[in-house]
Symmetry: D2
Subunit: 332 residues, 4 copies
């Protein structure tokens, strides 16, 4: 149950009502919102005069639910809006890891030549092994910042763990919470305290319900600029790296009010499947894409097999607008 209180109800009274109803209190700019997860289905009539609206529902979602807000929230990524009435599908691209200034300059030039606006690149890599390349860290963040300043590109990079969450919030335009970090309440609560957009990747073993609850940590903490990213779940099939869950995307589009971005590169794990999957994602009418592209994939320090090279990427981009147009969307 979500209860919105009337304007003018003060913080003290709001707290009191929350306590009396065992509810979680959220202070918005102009009102107080209470969320009760107790299964309670009605509010005592004595609160009627103080209540603006009550949303009663059974599902596993609250602020992210279509029953609470029946539209896709608009989120601004740099100068581009996704969700809302935008009809935009934002194509985010770049290498798996930021490896050097030369490399990331090449990536930036590629994006500029294609009129793309948003550059991705990992600085803190959540590698399985402690003995592998772990990313450039702060040096990488500074290179991304430089790309933003020199080329006007919006940059997005991943928080791997809490040790560097403040740095990423400071340097990056969009904060990506990685698939292995998305249960981390410390990171989620830190992201709730900024107004920068937060892209949360679904863990590969994470149910849709748990995934959406991670967004609730950010939404309820004060940042409404949340984007969900499906990037493949782990199944019994091992011929591909993960299994891109487009049925799950249908569920998210139907039941949540959050924009949805897809990452076919990580799901597939092999460059050969990325073009077909990218087009399939666009035909779903989704809000954005994350595609890995590297000047020389074979030399990449991480995820070499799934990154497109620049020629492959250019060829792919040419084919996307017609698919988007066929479903009433626009590639930006």
């Amino acid at each position: 149950m979500i209860i919105e209180l009337k304007k003018g109800i003060g913080a003290e009274r709001a707290n009191q009502i929350a306590k009396e109803n065992n509810a979680f209190l959220i202070e918005k700019t102009d009102k107080f919102v209470l969320i009760s997860s107790s299964g309670q289905k009605t509010l005592d009539p004595k609160y009627n005069d103080e209540t603006l609206a009550t949303f009663v529902f059974d599902n596993d979602m609250q602020l992210s639910s279509r029953q609470y807000l029946n539209e896709t929230r608009a989120v601004k990524i740099g100068n581009v809006t996704i969700g809302g009435n935008s009809k935009n599908t934002l194509l985010i691209a770049g290498p798996c890891s930021v490896e050097s200034e030369a490399q990331i300059q090449e990536s930036s030039a590629l994006l500029k030549s294609l009129n793309l606006t948003t550059l991705r690149g990992g600085c803190y890599k959540p590698r399985t092994s402690p003995y592998s390349f772990q990313g450039l860290g702060l040096e990488g963040l500074k290179l991304l910042k430089k790309m933003n300043e020199e080329h006007g590109l919006t940059v997005i990079t991943e928080v791997r763990d809490a040790t560097h969450v403040q740095e990423v919030i400071e340097y990056s335009d969009v904060i990506q919470v990685g698939a292995k970090a998305m249960y981390d309440q410390g990171i989620l609560r830190a992201c709730a305290k900024t107004q920068k957009p937060v892209l949360i990747k679904r863990g590969f073993g994470t149910t849709l319900q748990e995934f959406v609850q991670c967004a609730e940590f950010v939404l309820s903490g004060g940042n409404e600029n949340v984007v969900l990213c499906e990037r493949g779940i782990r199944t019994f099939e091992t011929k591909t790296r993960f299994t891109l869950d487009l049925c799950g995307v249908s569920y998210l589009k139907e039941h949540t009010n959050l924009p949805v971005v897809l990452d076919p590169s990580h799901a597939m794990g092999h460059a050969y499947g990325v073009p077909d999957l990218t087009r399939a994602c666009i035909a779903m009418g989704i809000d954005g894409l994350l595609i890995e592209v590297h000047p020389t994939p074979k030399l990449a320090k991480s995820d070499a097999s799934q990154q497109l090279n620049h020629e492959e990427f250019k060829a792919l981009v040419k084919t996307l607008q017609p698919v988007a147009a066929a479903v009433g969307m626009n590639i930006v």
Copy 2:
């Protein structure tokens, strides 16, 4: 290793070579083909004069492999060709179960009004419970045959188990081997003895390797008209009925020479997701689709929640050709 023997090598000698190499012998119209799964990598030079071609490969496929035949096989479904150079995406539609003549006449009329050619409908239902509706059986097959004769529709229906495989082969234009029956060698070997097209559905717990091996039972048994159908795999996610594995479809397109059909209705399990998923499948450039549509889904005797009604289906069909065109395909 696949070894093609020269024309003119007689059956006796072919058998002898097969035996000497512990290989499986296939007699084609004009030649003998030997398949060795022993891991053997070369043929003794003494056979050189009798050998037309040798295909050595490491993967889990043989006749269905791109290394053996580097193109998509053409398969004729009624008057329509899929695969090959056809650029066709065949839209197969109809109710989950054939329930009555009135119902299947309505379905047929719907297809005709949309210029669609191929009608699906289950007669032997692989229901989980013995206490549920099990399908009309032979009566249903006869109704499908009638639709073929009255309306010229190509009909496809499922073999649930071996008790009725001969009936389905006799009455149906395309034989569908169901997801729960696809490991059944008795059924697969029976399908190998007809020349009618066989559409094999992937089991929901079946790896891509096992899936393709089922096709090998039919291909090696003498029927080359085999079509693969992905219809969702079982994962930890339960908000949707199954998880449509489009990464797996990318794998099949890259590594096999068989046409691929998709069934988003069963994967999703909820009508609301079917339109988006159908468009995503088409954007993959696949060879066909199976969509469930019922005059009054709420009254359906099986799979009520996932079937579109006729209005929803018509609205969907209107949106498909632009997506197909965007990827160079044609809806038929």
Copy 3:
């Protein structure tokens, strides 16, 4: 809802009541039982005089449910009873495939030397590839029959598909419905028409609910001698062949009235893990075990890596009785 009718109600009237309630009718020796899967929760009071007992429940089980029969059914395997009050854990052992008389004689001698009574061996192998060894077929069945006649061993072998179900029913003492065949209603219905014990293996992608429903096909068809066998499910983990689902076994023990047998050999896929897992299974207090043992595993024509050799098996057997005793059971 299960409704038992009073003795003396004739077949005609029973049929009428079934029809009026849209229920499935089962004729037992001394009474009629009706099963309604319609969600109906009460019977019209007009039937009160004809009703012996009514079992109303919400779960996915009927005749196999603890709510219908709150005890483990006793099933006789040769001269040994499992389930009921027997406190027996039956150790079934033998090679993956019957390969030759010499081999199966060796296996029989091993069992006799250890006072074991029940020999397993596959004759129709559900191999993934059509190009692999497919089993000795009828010749293998005859060899098993010979072991029964010469050594008094109870023999169990697998039905792979419907082409040989009658042969297996004729030659084998216990009919095993394989993990890939367990959805096959033709096989299940054939098994319902014998009174020989039927051991149903859980498919590796099969939910517990579907698994138990397969047993319902046999139970409702007239054969109450049904045993469930858990043999590992398919998960994302590939270091082991499957994942033995002992949590699922706890569920089956709590909610069903059927004996449960475990097959750690197939679950693990590697001989090294079989001893520990066998002891774990026994400590669960289960009704039986299927263990693969081969005179020379390296030369086995199927599943070479998971079979114990005779020395390993003897060493294992020595350790089992103390574990069984610790949980109040007896290895037989």
Copy 4:
């Protein structure tokens, strides 16, 4: 490849050799160890005079591998040793969450009455929803510390995220890295800097290879007191909360040198299955168990359904020693 350098090689030279071989350098008390994940299989002969031992292997493990150290490492938990030659199975018990001093005193009294030494209790709960009880935090840690001081109990509690890792290291005797936090390199690296034992829970979507790599972060960082904990993986089966992976435990026992603890409570998710599963785990010959027990489970603020009450727990404990004895182990 792991390379141990001879004693007396200085830090500078060790660093140089590491750099020349692109290897990760670990400084132990008495020697330097280099780990190369490059796939390199031999060391240049020029280093022969400086090399003590070289371990070349293909698997996914390094310091945790049986090929590097072919025994189970001994780890001291309070006054009790597990692993090594101890033959101990440590029974760790307590409530899911520390809720109040009264509750945790009751839990402590229970343990003392059963001569158990190690108390578990969560202070920072990794709840799915931000609107649920999140744990007592530091107040809970202080209560655990009090139990340690008053009753001499060894206490273990979970790190949920990096915001409180230092507090847990300070207050708890054993640091538990939770299933949702186990990929967190910040936490793992912090745990590497203490010498307190670290129990790492396997993520429910985590492969065995990834799981062991998490241990490598701690081992390579300087703390060798690492214990692995299997607590159920997420599969398609939903009748139980998770699926306890005992096949995986067999793999870990065979291939790693780390002690293994099991948590059947979380795997099962229902109290009814915990006794059977606990006995099964013990029969595997494992090093420890985590069992959830609560004075009044129905009132528990988290995981109410899976916690045993005190009477059930006492009844369970009575049955464990015979099972342990049957496999040569001792419950402590």
